[in-house]
């Protein structure tokens, strides 16, 4: 029994130390974004003595963060909607179509889990130019939808395969078409798996920096990640503003994470269920 106590003690010590290492930077980020610069340098760890919103005001007004948020939300929502719709349709076919073609396409789709789409960037730049989408946030949508296909087909196909087959048979005997089976039976049942796919892609899309960096220059089309990188460069020496910018980018995801930690963890590790 003594051994068990020692073990428990060790567990708490290790995990507490790591938790401090994780939480401390996030804490100082948030707390210092409300302090004037001088106070950050004098007392970086305490609560603010004089509370200021200057950094946020600056980031919001001069930095056009309001715009960046709206752009990012539009891109994320549209891309997620399309990923779920197109991906679930494909997954239904991949799960139910007994054919070597379906098997091949399944492997073709999930191969994308192992191959980063970034390596095709150069050709994507040309494609986006040809479609006349450069410098708009619409350029991001099709790329993100394509990027979401491997995980969507991987998770959703596995989920549909697990569903009891009698359900589909019964509906078909009643004369339902495949489309009706898909919309009335499969879609409602798939909700938990759809949530996993949605969260996985939401985090990837919201935090993506690469494609906005490559496709977008114009201010009115910038996303949060791109805005953060440009503003941080500008404010590098003004820590109140720099920290406010970082907080603005980090807080929405952190709040969602605190509310939905279990789903987030499940979502982000979804690509690794079987490899």
């Amino acid at each position: 029994m003594r051994w068990n106590r020692l073990q428990l003690f060790f567990t708490y010590v290790v995990l507490t130390i790591w938790s401090v290492i994780v939480l401390f930077p996030i804490w100082t980020l948030l707390i210092n974004s409300f302090k004037p610069q001088k106070q950050i340098f004098k007392d970086p760890f305490g609560l603010p003595e004089t509370f200021t919103l200057d950094g946020y005001r600056e980031a919001w007004n001069t930095g056009r963060f309001d715009l960046y948020f709206i752009n990012t939300i539009i891109v994320t929502v549209i891309a997620l909607g399309l990923i779920l719709f197109i991906g679930s349709m494909a997954a239904y076919a991949l799960a139910k179509w007994k054919s070597p073609v379906a098997n091949f396409l399944y492997i073709f789709f999930i191969a994308g889990l192992m191959i980063p789409i970034r390596l095709g960037t150069l050709d994507l730049v040309r494609l986006i130019k040809a479609l006349n989408l450069q410098d708009t946030y619409w350029s991001l949508v099709p790329v993100y939808v394509a990027m979401g296909m491997p995980i969507a087909t991987f998770v959703l196909t596995a989920f549909i395969k697990e569903l009891p087959g009698e359900m589909f048979e019964a509906a078909k005997i009643d004369g339902a078409s495949e489309w009706q089976v898909y919309t009335r039976i499969v879609l409602p049942l798939m909700r938990p798996a759809m949530a996993t796919v949605a969260i996985f892609n939401m985090i990837k899309i919201w935090n993506d920096f690469w494609f906005p960096l490559v496709f977008i220059r114009a201010e009115e089309s910038r996303t949060v990640a791109l805005g953060v990188s440009l503003l941080f460069g500008q404010y590098r020496t003004d820590w109140t503003r720099a920290l406010a910018v970082l907080s603005l980018a980090a807080v929405p995801m952190l709040i969602l994470y605190v509310l939905l930690a279990r789903e987030f963890i499940k979502g982000l590790t979804a690509g690794a269920v079987k490899g």
């Binding site: 290790v14 179509w97 054919s99 191959i115 390596l119």
Partner: protein, 318 residues
């Protein structure tokens, strides 16, 4: 819209039922296949083709065969850059493999027992993974700032002034420090995966070993570790793919040039500078060469992934 198409195909009387069903499945797959081919698979393969061309700007038109590759490996200027970026990427990956996955295994092992606050710790460990890499990178540049950053302030306060180093300014330090920042962010991933693997090991088995007097250390190495091998394989390959493709963290903490003195330049930053941004003093992107670097990265990734698939298959059949 799709509905009308599908009902139409459904009522296409001239097709026999089997063909009709095939057509239905094709229509279900078509949108996903179209977008995946056009915006992912297509560009990926076309980038391979692009590496055989040269020319400035966005339309390299002059076919040069393998000249870009020959340059990449024989022109001392390019070779040095490429070897440097490749070596740095290997170091970056190895630090993740060793530190991140060892810590993940340790945390998972601790979290797999039942105690108060377990969920709290799991939530905290995973939290940074939901943040943008860019934000994490910028945040840590401030924390590691030699003059005003928290790390050096704490070290000085602890009377360890000689340890208060310019973490991101010294060539020998920058890459390991940036790698560890990235470990800080991503350690939750292997933790959760290993935890899922450990939860799958039957309690009776562990209990039996304990009754036989095995120490926790023995239990870990003799029972848990061998049973975790498949999970370790998955974690290893994901670490490999993610880190051979890392860009954001370097861009945030060391700039696109991998400062100081290219000591943190990775394959992805080299690819970005060569093919997309254009490098000083020319300032014009060399897409053909960029594509050659991307193709080399692709080849490295494929070699890794395929040998992993081969090895894990072999282990399965054994």
């Amino acid at each position: 819209m799709s509905q009308t198409i599908l009902t139409k195909s459904g009522s296409a009387g001239f097709l026999n039922p089997k063909k009709r069903l095939t057509l239905t499945w094709v229509l279900f797959l078509l949108p996903a296949l179209f977008i995946y081919l056009t915006f992912m698979a297509g560009p990926l393969f076309d980038s391979l083709r692009l590496s055989l061309y040269t020319g400035q700007g966005y339309t390299p038109t002059e076919f040069v065969g393998f000249q870009n590759y020959i340059n990449l490996f024989t022109n001392p200027l390019w070779r040095e850059k490429f070897i440097n970026a490749f070596t740095n990427t290997c170091i970056f990956f190895s630090i993740h493999m060793l530190v991140q996955n060892t810590l993940g295994l340790l945390f998972a092992n601790l979290l797999s027992t039942d105690f108060k606050g377990r969920n709290f710790f799991r939530t905290v460990i995973f939290a940074p993974a939901t943040l943008s890499v860019l934000v994490v990178g910028f945040l840590w540049t401030l924390i590691l700032n030699p003059q005003w950053g928290a790390v050096n302030k704490i070290l000085i306060a602890m009377d360890l002034k000689q340890l208060a180093l310019p973490w991101l300014g010294r060539e020998s330090l920058a890459l390991p420090v940036i790698s560890l920042t990235s470990v800080w962010q991503w350690v939750g991933m292997p933790t959760v995966m290993f935890l899922a693997g450990l939860m799958g090991i039957s309690d009776e088995l562990l209990e039996a070993a304990r009754i036989d007097g095995a120490s926790e250390w023995d239990i870990f190495w003799r029972i848990k570790f061998p049973l975790l091998k498949p999970v370790i394989g998955v974690v290893a390959i994901l670490t490999f793919v993610d880190n051979f493709n890392a860009f954001d963290i370097i861009y945030a903490m060391a700039g696109a040039k991998g400062e100081p003195g290219y000591s943190t330049d990775l394959l992805a930053t080299l690819f970005y500078r060569t093919g997309i941004a254009g490098e000083h003093p020319v300032g014009i992107p060399d897409m053909g060469m960029g594509a050659a670097i991307a193709t080399m990265t692709f080849a490295i990734l494929m070699t890794g992934v395929l040998s992993w698939l081969y090895l894990s298959r072999k282990q399965e059949t054994e």
